[in-house]
């Protein structure tokens, strides 16, 4: 299982003079949950966008287990869900299949119905995104990401702006669906203590480099000195006030 991994080598991205990613090397195992943490604005989302192809990296390469060319199917979960607000939930979920695959109306309906039921969205299929709750929107976005049976789903700060209770609900949702569908999660988050509960690996991104890589347990037990300020919100708020 652990043999397959996403190999990132020398990934660099700069905007003008600002170096955001400075030759990043990272091996992300598949069939697990990896979380990239770091301060806001440090370039976590840029890393994710480079992985998904939304941004073109200046240098470096991403490959699957050393084998080039056959890149696994990726889906992307946006911070604000990025649902099409003039389309119903059903149309939103069906969109990737309808637009990309030659599929009969019947098969399409079957696949959408099955997925919508699994994500408990049956009652919302004819509603528009504006008419459903935030948590449901997340599920709709997840359904849209899952409809193409991706191997990897990239989550861009799925819990931004949510209260702690909702945060846990979203993390819970990600964990339970990951268990059920068996996809790889690469997530970007700055909800630091909370995210340790669901993630298998943590990568700490700072100043364009991966400064720490390991399991959350190790990180909690023996945090590297330079990470302490980030892990302890009190300390960091004091230092930023000073």
């Amino acid at each position: 299982m652990k043999s397959a991994y996403l190999r990132i080598r020398g990934l660099s991205k700069r905007f003008g003079d600002l170096v955001v990613l400075d030759a990043i090397d990272l091996d992300i195992p598949l069939d697990s949950h990896t979380t990239v943490i770091g301060k806001s604005g440090i370039g976590k989302s840029v890393l994710l966008k480079c992985l998904s192809g939304l941004l073109t990296a200046d240098a470096g390469e991403v490959s699957l287990d050393g084998a080039q060319g056959k890149f696994p199917q990726c889906s992307y979960m946006f911070q604000q869900n990025a649902l099409f607000d003039s389309q119903t939930v059903w149309e939103n979920v069906a969109l990737p299949l309808r637009e990309k695959e030659r599929i009969s109306k019947k098969d399409l309906a079957q696949r959408v119905t099955a997925l919508v039921e699994q994500l408990e969205l049956e009652n919302a299929v004819d509603k528009y995104p504006a008419e459903i709750s935030g948590g449901m929107k997340k599920r709709v976005a997840l359904a849209r990401a899952l409809i193409t049976n991706p191997e990897i789903i990239l989550f861009d700060e799925p819990t931004t702006g949510l209260d702690p209770e909702r945060k846990f609900a979203v993390f819970d949702m990600i964990r339970s669906y990951r268990e059920r569908f068996g996809f790889t999660v690469i997530m970007v988050s700055h909800d630091v203590p909370e995210v340790f509960g669901i993630t298998d690996q943590v990568a700490w991104l700072d100043a364009g480099k991966i400064k720490y890589w390991g399991s959350p347990e190790d990180l909690k037990q023996s945090p590297p000195s330079e990470l302490e300020g980030f892990l302890n919100p009190k300390l960091s708020s004091q230092s930023s006030a000073a």
Binding site: G53, C74, F78, A82, E99, R102, T148
Partner: protein
């Protein structure tokens, strides 16, 4: 000062290049996408059907005013019988294509610019990319083709209603001879005039729709502020630039088309 003019000029030229590439790749992506007919129908509904009322109203009043104005000019030379010719030629060659295009930009162009701009800000365009759906084919291409269909049709509506409007003031109210009105039209308007009018409307349709879609599509880089105000900025710019483009293209095309 000179440096600033120079850099403005360079950015104008490069923007023109971007716009051209943008429209070319949108036009070419029609066949790559799926369910294009459905999107085309939707776009024709928005650009064409929705613009019928405004086109008819403006066309009618333009014809009425032209009938009135030209009557008083022509009556000075006791040549009222030329009214039909004057109204029809000015509408078919100039006013029809230009006014129709400006009306469609106001109604449909601004709407599509704002819509695409909001979709950009809501990351919907990025979402399409991550789903490997070509955003140009999905959002822009059907609208460009719809514009190429709708602009000439609406221009034809405008022309006919405008000529009827001129008839209403000239013949029904001011007493120009009905036979003279229509005969002067039939005799003076050539197929070439009609064709030139439609060439103009095709050009306006392509250019304005490309500008409106372009401004919305790149609202995140073109506007000086992000978010809702950015979209309002690019939408305004889309309408202003489209109007300028209509009138300057009209001048260019007129000078080319009048050349024998």
């Amino acid at each position: 000062m000179i440096g600033r003019i120079g850099s403005k000029g360079i950015s104008f030229v490069s923007e023109l290049g971007e716009l051209t590439l943008f429209s070319a790749s949108s036009l070419s992506s029609l066949l790559k996408g799926r369910h294009m007919m459905e999107k085309l129908v939707r776009a024709i509904y928005e650009i064409g059907v929705r613009c019928i009322p405004i086109t008819l109203i403006v066309g009618l009043f333009t014809g009425l005013v032209l009938g009135l104005q030209l009557y008083y000019v022509l009556t000075k030379f006791s040549s009222e019988s030329l009214l039909g010719q004057a109204v029809a030629l000015s509408i078919i060659m100039e006013i029809g294509p230009v006014f129709t295009a400006i009306m469609i930009v106001g109604q449909a162009g601004s709407a599509l610019s704002a819509e695409i701009g909001i979709q950009r800000n809501a990351e919907q365009i990025d979402a399409l990319k991550t789903m490997q759906i070509d955003p140009l084919g999905f959002l822009v291409s059907p609208r460009l083709y719809a514009a190429l269909i709708c602009f000439p049709i609406l221009t034809a509506f405008f022309d006919i209603v405008g000529i009827l409007g001129g008839h209403l003031t000239g013949v029904s109210m001011l007493g120009v001879d009905e036979g003279a009105y229509w005969n002067r039209i039939y005799e003076s308007v050539s197929l070439r005039n009609v064709r030139d009018g439609f060439i103009k409307s095709l050009a306006f349709g392509l250019i304005t729709t490309a500008i409106c879609a372009f401004q919305g599509y790149f609202t995140h880089t073109k506007a000086s502020v992000p978010g809702a105000r950015g979209v309002s900025q690019t939408t305004t710019r889309a309408v202003v630039l489209s109007s300028i483009a209509i009138l300057s293209t009209d001048y260019l095309l007129t000078s080319f088309l009048l050349e024998k």
